[in-house]
């Protein structure tokens, strides 16, 4: 029996193994590759990380992990910073895996966790609906028990790479006669279930990373409940804490070089070189903007380290992850503004041979995905500062007596109208 490797021994092994087996990230490479080739490549990298015994450091061995510690996992993330990670597994690793380990039955853990680590199963979150995203507990999608099965009807949206997913965590209403938070259940849904239709969505920047799903009498096994019937809100709350933390540290399966406290601050010269290309690197105003961009990214990284560590140690409560999510939104938007000012006209018109410039990042918003900034600020205000909620009856009134949306916020689904 060999003893567990120290963090440093593990780090060295990870470094050597990654160099020999995984390609480096390319400059300007986007995080997700939602194409059949991109997904196939991610699956094969995921499988090889597992076979190389470098991934899943903190997952217990009986569920396919290495049985080491969170510190080993952080070492992996740091070493993986420059390599192409199988990011299509982001929701599987950042969201499904910790929830399965915390709330799953022994059978669920054995059935699902190893298949995440070995690259078999890509997972999705099935939370937001066309009728509402921020008011997540107001979900309309219904699940009704029928013998040994659940029967699901409704619609979900903003599912990352839904057209390539194998399983989803679906928040569904199982009891409409009680207040909204008390009647929800988290269900494990196989994407190949009959009656489940996936429709990709194109975003303003042309990316097709998200999908919406329609559930028409989708039947799943009765045992596919995660964390108990009508206990779905608790699972969803934990899910959102994990999600905010993961977004705060950059979401990637690999980390950044600044994840460790002693790696030192590294400032990218990209903006400075961009300004030089346009002959404007001596402009004091632009120089101040470039410095500001560095301040934003460095403070973001420092805050992420501090808050993540404090949540792990219990010095800050779970909802503190909302601090990071809110900060990311601000940082991204402000960095986009700075980028477009430094890039000037090259930000809005560019040769097709060049990568998308800063202007494109101003089109999108990191203040929506993963929970709007407004919801993060509510969480900070109410859970950290102890400020009162806006008065509302939606927490006490039975769900079926509440007013809710009847019109979808997204384009109608294609094909014939649904019956009923």
């Amino acid at each position: 029996v060999s003893s567990a490797p120290s963090v440093e021994e593990f780090r060295v092994r990870v470094r050597d193994w990654l160099s020999a087996n995984v390609p480096l990230k390319e400059p300007h490479e986007s995080m997700l590759h939602c194409t059949p080739e991109g997904v196939a490549r991610d699956r094969s990298i995921m499988r090889s990380l597992w076979e190389g015994r470098v991934f899943g450091a903190a997952v217990p061995e009986e569920y396919g992990g290495l049985g080491l510690t969170p510190a080993h996992e952080i070492a992996f993330r740091e070493e993986a910073a420059d390599f192409r990670m199988p990011e299509i597994f982001g929701n599987a690793v950042n969201i499904a895996l910790p929830l399965l380990l915390t709330y799953g039955t022994e059978e669920q853990k054995k059935a699902f966790v190893p298949n995440i680590l070995n690259g078999e199963h890509i997972w999705a979150q099935l939370l937001s609906e066309p009728s509402g995203g921020s008011d997540l507990a107001g979900a309309l999608t219904r699940a009704v028990r029928d013998g040994d099965e659940w029967v699901i009807n409704g619609a979900k949206i903003w599912t990352t790479a839904g057209n390539f997913c194998d399983f989803g965590l679906c928040l569904a209403r199982t009891d409409p006669d009680v207040p909204k938070h008390a009647g929800l259940t988290m269900l494990i849904v196989p994407f190949d279930s009959p009656g489940l239709t996936v429709q990709p969505l194109t975003l303003v920047d042309g990316d097709v990373d998200f999908c919406q799903e329609f559930f028409d009498d989708v039947r799943i096994p009765g045992a596919n409940v995660l964390g108990g019937v009508n206990n779905g809100w608790q699972i969803a709350t934990t899910l959102m804490v994990n999600e905010r933390s993961a977004i705060g540290r950059g979401w990637s399966l690999g980390g950044s070089r600044s994840d460790g406290t002693d790696a030192g601050i590294v400032l990218s010269r990209a903006l400075l070189e961009e300004a030089r290309r346009h002959g404007r690197d001596e402009d004091p105003h632009l120089r101040a903007l470039i410095g500001e961009a560095w301040v934003l990214t460095t403070v973001q990284a420092a805050a992420s380290r501090r808050v993540s560590a404090a949540i792990r140690s219990g010095e800050l409560p779970g909802p503190a992850a909302a601090l990071l999510k809110a900060l990311v939104g601000y940082t991204a938007v402000r960095a986009g503004e700075i980028g477009i000012e430094v890039g000037g006209s090259a930000s809005v018109a560019w040769r097709s041979s060049l990568p998308s410039p800063y202007g494109v990042s101003r089109l999108t918003s990191q203040n929506i995905g993963g929970g709007t900034t407004e919801m993060q600020l509510n969480a900070v205000a109410e859970r950290l500062l102890g400020l009162p909620r806006e008065p509302s009856s939606d927490r006490t009134m039975p769900f079926n007596q509440l007013r809710h949306n009847t019109m979808s916020a997204t384009p109608a689904r294609p094909g014939p109208e649904r019956a009923g």
């Binding site: 010269r269 460095t298 403070v299 420092a302 501090r306 900060l327 009162p388 008065p391």
Partner: protein, 378 residues
């Protein structure tokens, strides 16, 4: 609020906080507003017993710190002094202690360091000049060689507590480059002109040096070498200032959150309206960033890491900006009472605005970062 503190560090923080609550309540802070000296020597001496002036001093001269990282521990103290609106020249005395520790001869160390650590010597750093602001390479205050040693001529401004210091570190220009000098204010030719300070808990002066004769023993370090050490001293000053601003901001912000829970309008607490609670949440977000980057900078400067210079500037830029933005909007969220002299909030706002400007505003720090990065090989 710093996290992951050792038991010794937590004890240090708690003890400082209690000492200030007992001996520096806001009522006392207000009594001192019209006092030309502006702080109590008795509390200074009590602070010295807690190590307020000894953490950047070597053990053989009466110094030492609880964690072995003096600047990290001292930053914890600085945050408490900010939270408690402590009015004395804590920052400048420690910067001079660091200068003597770093550059002093054995004789200079023995002459000054034990006295600083014990609270008997109050020190300040004369850096800024009217036409050079916070540049570490001064120009208008000159030192020329004389038969006895050196002759100082020129003007320094925004010198913290220049009127009560027992020892002044003067950074001057010489034909061979910048140099530091230790000047005792009783020297002939030194005159002190008190300035009116925005921050009611600070005192600033202009110091004029008219042919001040110094002997060779006043030179600290070598002539021409002062730029590098001034950079280190600025880094230390920035770390302590950021910690101070964080403490001030934390306290002023907490007052505001509490007020918004207590104050009722249109039938409910004003803190329940998203128009206010989202702003408060946002300042909480930025405060978290301030704590994170200030702690990083103190650690980095304390350990003399390669990124110390940029870490201190990044902390200064972020903390400087958001402390002022936060507390200024805290006044707005209070409404009318926030504009009154008798309500304490303005004492906090004044202090962070003053801190934002002293040692260079955020925009200067942004540009300085680009200078620093350009000066390194890519």
């Amino acid at each position: 609020l710093q996290l992951s503190l050792s038991d010794d560090q937590s004890l240090l923080v708690d003890t400082c906080r209690r000492l200030l609550e007992d001996h520096n309540p806001v009522t006392r802070v207000r009594e001192l507003i019209d006092d030309p000296v502006g702080f109590d020597r008795s509390l200074w001496a009590r602070g010295a017993e807690l190590g307020w002036f000894s953490m950047l001093v070597p053990e053989e001269y009466g110094g030492g710190s609880v964690s072995g990282q003096g600047l990290v521990d001292l930053s914890l103290v600085a945050e408490e002094l900010g939270r408690g609106l402590y009015p004395g020249p804590f920052l400048s005395t420690n910067v001079v202690a660091a200068a003597i520790t770093e550059l002093g001869t054995d004789e200079q160390k023995a002459r000054y360091l034990p006295g600083i650590a014990a609270g008997d010597i109050i020190a300040t750093w004369a850096l800024a000049e009217p036409d050079r602001d916070w540049s570490a390479t001064p120009s208008s205050l000159t030192a020329t060689r004389s038969s006895r040693g050196f002759l100082l001529n020129g003007l320094k401004t925004t010198v913290q507590h220049g009127g009560s210091a027992d020892l002044i570190l003067v950074t001057a220009s010489t034909p061979e480059g910048p140099a530091h000098f230790l000047v005792e204010p009783a020297a002939t030719g030194v005159s002190v002109d008190p300035l009116v300070a925005l921050d009611l808990t600070s005192r600033f002066s202009e110091l004029r040096f008219d042919g001040v004769e110094l002997d060779g023993g006043a030179l600290l370090g070598r002539v021409g070498d002062a730029a590098a050490s001034a950079e280190l001293l600025q880094q230390i000053a920035l770390c302590l200032q950021c910690a101070d601003s964080n403490g001030v901001t934390d306290r002023g912000f907490a007052m505001t959150v509490q007020y918004s829970k207590d104050r009722v309008a249109f039938g409910r607490p004003i803190g329940s309206y998203q128009a206010l609670k989202h702003r408060m949440a946002w300042y909480r977000v930025q405060l978290e960033g301030s704590y994170a980057i200030a702690a990083y900078a103190s650690e980095s400067v304390s350990r003399r890491r390669e990124d110390a210079g940029i870490a201190a500037r990044i902390a200064k830029a972020h903390v400087g900006k958001w402390s002022s933005v936060t507390l200024h909007d805290c006044v707005q969220m209070h409404g009318g009472i926030g504009m009154t002299w008798d309500y304490d909030l303005h004492l906090y706002v004044r202090r962070v605005i003053s801190n934002e400007a002293v040692y260079g505003a955020p925009n200067e720090q942004y540009r300085k970062l680009v200078d620093l990065v350009e000066a390194t090989v890519p």
